[in-house]
């Protein structure tokens, strides 16, 4: 069983996202250590892309800052290799199809495996195009994380059957970003998933407050928090370690013991 899947089953899982290289690699490294210590079970590291079409303004801006600061795929791989020496938390890369494709699919997965990456999320590669990356991922034992959304409908079953690690359940339509109100429409999709698969489900998109985390985790095995963290980083820059750690432990506290 993969390290990612192993994370689930004990308590509700917290997945935290940071954009790699924002505001610089050194700060990302410190952030990941702090987020891990604050109780995140899985950390998703965004490899910045010039045109992140699935992202809202917060993560778009973070990607632009990271690229302007000189962040590259290679620098992030080196960073992960260094972190892996002392961090046990599951680490994922989240990026778009083109950075992986341009790097060379096989070369990319090989480096990911060597550096200690456990999984990969590519939001612009849906179920229909999964084979673009699935073969090389399994060759290097990298979990290729699938996404389901409130509009996945009948396709949710097929997606769940091939899912690896966990299923990324998108809470609502739209791009990433903080939302005032969240609905439980994704809960119906998760029910459909449960009919065919025991793959762990984590809900993301729009979750920012401890109350929202608690509300959403009720329907799933874990929650994903992204934009809210990235917003703190945008605000505090190199001094964001403390506020981010405090925020992560607050979310963790909210979902703990709800299993």
């Amino acid at each position: 069983m993969s390290r990612i899947k192993n994370t689930f089953g004990k308590d509700k899982v917290l997945i935290a996202f940071v954009t790699g290289g924002d505001p610089n690699i050194e700060t990302t490294k410190r952030l990941i250590r702090a987020i891990s210590a604050a109780g995140a079970d899985i950390i998703e590291i965004g490899i910045p892309f010039s045109d992140p079409i699935a992202e809202g303004p917060v993560i778009q801006a973070a990607s632009a800052r990271a690229l302007a600061a000189g962040c590259t795929t290679d620098k992030l791989l080196d960073m992960v290799a260094e972190l892996r020496k002392d961090i046990k938390t599951s680490l994922l890369f989240m990026t778009y199809a083109n950075p992986v494709f341009a790097y060379g699919k096989e070369g990319f997965m090989k480096r990911c495996a060597e550096c200690g990456i456990d999984g990969l999320i590519i939001p612009d590669t849906p179920y229909e195009e999964r084979d673009e990356f699935a073969g090389v991922c399994s060759l290097y034992s990298i979990d290729l994380i699938s996404m389901v959304t409130p509009t996945s409908a009948d396709r949710a079953k097929e997606i769940a059957k091939v899912g690896q690690g966990f299923l990324y359940c998108v809470s609502s339509l739209g791009v990433t970003g903080v939302r005032d109100k969240l609905t439980s429409e994704i809960a119906n999709v998760i029910k459909v998933v449960r009919e065919v698969s025991d793959i762990p489900c984590a809900i993301g998109f729009g979750i920012s407050t401890p109350e929202q985390a608690k509300q959403m985790v009720h329907y799933a095995d874990g929650v994903i928090v992204g934009s809210a963290i990235v917003k703190l980083i945008a605000e505090h820059g190199v001094n964001s370690i403390e506020p981010v750690a405090a925020y992560v432990s607050e979310i963790k506290k909210a979902i703990r013991g709800t299993l």
Binding site: F49, S50, D51, I53, A54, G56, P57, Q60, A64, L67, T72, T73, D74, Y96, A97, N98, P99, V100, F101, A102, Y103, P123, D124, T125, P126, Y127, E128, E129, D131, E132, S146, M147, V148, T149, T151, S152, A153, R155, I159, V170, L173, G174, V175
Partner: protein, 394 residues
């Protein structure tokens, strides 16, 4: 291989959130593209609203002046709204209407596709919102006003390079938030399947007309068909009918901007490599890490870092040729056609005119060249004046 492939290119590389919307379009198109009454309705609009067939004009003075091949101009600039874009939007907005959608959204570069979409939306009683790079709203301020006149709302896009690619990003983001009542009218033969096929099908009328008109006028096929290429919709429209006619050279003219040896270029075939972006596998201008390049061309309509997947395939198969044309060459051709034939072409189309001026001289007088004049140049007059250092006051 998955759906919508052109060789290795094409596919459906989009977020899961959009998959159902795209599948819905695919199913609807499968049905209506074979539906007699839909096709009849579209044909009626082509003839009575857009002004089809567009003329195939023998450019006698230009032919004489260049002293080589005989040159014909396919006058897509004479269509309603002034470009080939109307062919596609009439088809897509009609499709959206049949699907029960009440709102259309679109990206636009130069504004031609935005104006055409706003026009079709006005005609068919649809709500319309257009996303346009902020830089382009400044380059093409009259087109913004035109869209407003037609009842559309224009959103200036301030992310990224503030040009066409960012307008596409923003329109996709908008679509994700509202798919139930909204149809995305993609402006070129790009994006996820089925858009490259749908747009090509609605544009292929250009080549079909060229063939029939030229056979009537000359009794034979052209030796070369030239068209400018950004995403490539007017080019595929002109080429498609001739793909099986191996004697016909198909030549796409890309925007080289300040030159393919500079960073300020949008020539995808000349400087790009295979990648995955905007829903498709195709060729893209990008750096070693796959970051999409901030491309440049004087022409807002060709200022795009990719090319439609069918063009990528035609190029790889060697069936079509693609040549880079610089800003300077395009501006010279813009002025040349204006003075020689009294036809002011769109600066986009002027890229094809520029290459034809070189090519015609290399060919003998028994050869035939067709240049697709994809749009009219009125929208470009102010920008060309600025380029030439002339200040205009209204």
């Amino acid at each position: 291989m998955t759906k919508g492939r052109f060789g290795i290119h094409g596919g459906q590389y989009i977020p899961e959130t959009l998959m159902n919307a795209v599948i819905e379009v695919e199913k609807a198109y499968e049905f209506y593209s074979k539906d007699e009454s839909f096709l009849k309705e579209l044909d009626y609009l082509y003839k009575n609203y857009a002004g089809r067939p567009s003329l195939l004009y023998y450019a006698e003075k230009m032919t004489r002046d260049l002293g080589g091949a005989k040159i014909y101009l396919k006058r897509e600039d004479l269509n309603h709204t002034g470009s080939h874009k109307i062919n596609n939007v009439l088809g897509q907005v009609l499709l959206a209407k049949k699907m029960g959608k009440t709102r259309v959204i679109a990206e636009t570069g130069a504004g031609q596709h935005g104006v055409a979409t706003a026009t079709a939306a006005a005609l068919m009683d649809m709500e319309c919102e257009v996303f346009m790079g902020k830089e382009d709203t400044e380059r093409q301020v009259l087109n913004v006003y035109r869209m407003n006149l037609l009842g559309a709302k224009v959103h200036p896009v301030t992310s990224g390079t503030q040009t066409l690619k960012d307008a596409v990003n923003e329109t996709m983001r908008e679509w994700v938030t509202r798919i139930a009542d909204t149809y995305y009218v993609l402006g070129s033969v790009m994006g996820p399947h089925p858009f490259p096929t749908i747009v090509r099908d609605f544009q292929k009328v250009i080549g079909e007309e060229i063939k029939a008109q030229l056979l009537k006028a000359e009794g034979k096929l052209p030796d070369a068909v030239l068209a400018c290429v950004g995403g490539g919709s007017n080019a595929i429209g002109a080429f498609y009918e001739f793909i099986g006619d191996k004697s016909v050279r198909l030549i796409g003219c890309e925007a080289a901007g300040r030159g393919v040896d500079t960073a300020e270029t949008a020539a995808t075939i000349a400087t790009g490599k295979v990648g995955i972006f905007h829903g498709m596998k195709s060729l893209f201008c990008q750096d070693d890490f796959g970051q999409i390049a901030p491309v440049y061309s004087l022409s807002a309509g060709l200022d795009y870092p990719g090319i439609g997947p069918e063009h990528a395939m035609l190029w790889e198969k060697g069936r079509a040729e693609y040549v880079p044309v610089t800003d300077d060459e395009a501006v010279a051709a813009f002025e040349y056609l204006s003075r020689t034939e009294g036809i002011i072409p769109a600066i986009e189309s002027a890229h094809a005119v520029a290459h034809a001026m070189t090519l015609a001289k290399e060919m003998t007088s028994d050869k035939l060249i067709v240049i697709n004049i994809s749009g009219r140049g009125d929208k470009d007059v102010a920008a060309i004046a600025r380029y030439k250092g002339v200040e205009l006051y209204e």
